[in-house]
Symmetry: C2
């Protein structure tokens, strides 16, 4: 299985991307294709290229984070994002992982791979980094800033199918993100969506409020891409905040208890917890509804996050999610 | 100064409300009027009624959390929410504090106190419970689920004036909550609002993403009431999550270091941090733009939160915020 990785996208490209990709090639049974500046990649990957049989694809253009997605994709055919999606389209790669301009990755996916038949809008499905470590998929996490109720219902179907087949959850519990549990709460979009979800074949178990996200009452949380993106990032920010706070008190604490050299986080059993909420170590979002596998990683991804995103890509390919969604969508129920 | 308190609103009414109100009467120089079931309140407040000169107003009806706000307010003139807002309208009380049905409190405020001239929509301004403990006002935190760009600009003006005069911040930095820092990011509402905010007299310093909320780059964060409510509650939920996690490891830790009976949170200097992020201990949101002072407390408020909400009400009255907004709004700039 060949996974193409955008070595030019994200705040920590290319160094951290290459590091994460090399680690993934060593750890998982995947082949890696790096897409970016050939000369730079040769320097960064060095001997590992031969050792791990890394492929390198030259991309001479770069799409910046603040560029207009559609215009950038159309005007930069030699960018890593366009080349990466084309590798999937042409069957060269099984998946493409990018920490670059999210909007551009979504556009390139739409243009180069196309939507699965019957899908109105592809959406980003992102597992939330919260504790306890129960996987909860947030969909849409940022692909569609403006949505209609029918979009949200389709996101719910897509998310449900994804979680079912990726995690072997038999009948995923779907909840709608809103400002109250009652059907009457929320805005026009959520009220109409609630009504449609109620009538669907999904295991829809009602609305969910922000404070209950981590309470393990949902496998899939459905929302529009604007709200979803803000909630996802707010959770990331809170996690960061907490990690910083723990690290700060760590020093004071070590001194007080004469524990120099020992790790507070480790002693408290918080190591795995910190990993869980640290988005720099976290996986990525699957662009559900596209004819091919694209994983969007966080723009601030470090090596570990890229490594995890590649692992998610591998599982998504192995579980044949894209084909299942294609076939499931022909029936419209899953 | 008499502050009316809704003793029938919120999940922990009436016991925790009464407890918090009594504490406030003891701690601050305020007189308290409890609104609720007279017989029950006499039992709960007991001797404190005479000692603290508590006033009690009978409310024979209760507005439930899931009732339709406008219908409930209109059909229940003897509810604590309607009676409380009437006490402010009639000049009996300087402010009203309620942890009841938020929508109903907003409606009662609108109906009984009316909007300040020139205000399109009153909004809930809520200080975020995050660390470091820099006050950041989120507006609208939940009064208006559907908003137009002009509403958001007015929320920004209201929030800016509130923060300026409550906290003596000379020129509050206003940011717009969005999915990216660039003007082009976000949805239609944020893009149009960004454009209007740029041209305003406010100290508008751009958009802010979810993960940057706690980075001290804003004094006022503007958003629609749907997104604001979800973000506020997500932050609360994450805070809760951390507190639970810390408490769980606390026991393991105490045993490992033979610190039985000592408080991990206290030893780590985390006591104040936990207080800060625990919404049960937190203040409340000011309903800005109404002709009178209404503080909406969290539906899950415990005594401490009610106490804090009363303190916020007192400061809001003392700082004469309502009059300042009324006068400032005549000039449209502040």
């Amino acid at each position: 299985m060949l996974i193409a990785v955008d070595a030019a996208g994200g705040e920590n490209a290319p160094r951290e991307i290459v590091k994460g990709a090399i680690k993934a090639a060593q750890e998982y049974e995947v082949d890696i294709a790096l897409v970016g500046d050939k000369a730079v990649l040769h320097v960064l990957a060095g001997r590992e290229i031969k050792k791990l049989n890394l492929q390198i694809f030259e991309a001479t253009e770069i799409i910046a984070p603040n560029e207009h997605p559609m215009r950038a994709v159309k005007s930069k055919p030699n960018s890593s994002i366009v080349i990466g999606t084309n590798l999937v389209r042409d069957g060269v790669a099984s998946a493409f992982v990018s920490a670059g301009n999210t909007g551009a990755v979504v556009c390139a996916g739409l243009l180069n791979l196309g939507k699965i038949k019957g899908i109105e809008r592809p959406a980003l499905g992102s597992f939330l980094n919260i504790t306890p470590a129960t996987p909860i998929l947030l969909i849409d996490a940022g692909a569609n800033a403006e949505c209609r109720p029918s979009h949200l219902v389709q996101f719910a179907h897509l998310g449900s199918t994804y979680v079912k087949h990726l995690l072997d959850i038999d009948s995923p519990r779907v909840r709608l993100l809103s400002t109250g549990e009652e059907e009457s709460k929320g805005n026009r979009l959520t009220r109409e969506s609630y009504n449609l979800l109620k009538k669907s074949q999904l295991n829809f178990v009602g609305s969910i409020e922000g404070q209950d996200i981590s309470n393990r009452t949902a496998d899939v949380i459905v929302t529009d891409g604007f709200t979803g993106n803000i909630v996802l990032k707010t959770i990331e920010g809170m996690g960061d905040n907490f990690i910083n706070m723990l690290r700060q008190v760590g020093h004071v604490f070590s001194t007080a208890y004469h524990l120099q050299g020992r790790s507070l986080l480790h002693d408290l059993g918080l190591g795995s917890w910190v990993k869980r909420v640290d988005y720099r170590e976290y996986g990525g979002a699957y662009l559900v509804g596209i004819n091919g596998n694209i994983i969007v990683a966080h723009g601030r991804s470090q090596a570990k996050a890229i490594n995890n995103a590649i692992s998610l890509a591998k599982q998504t390919v192995e579980r044949d999610i894209c084909r299942i969604i294609r076939e499931g969508n022909n029936e419209q129920t899953d």
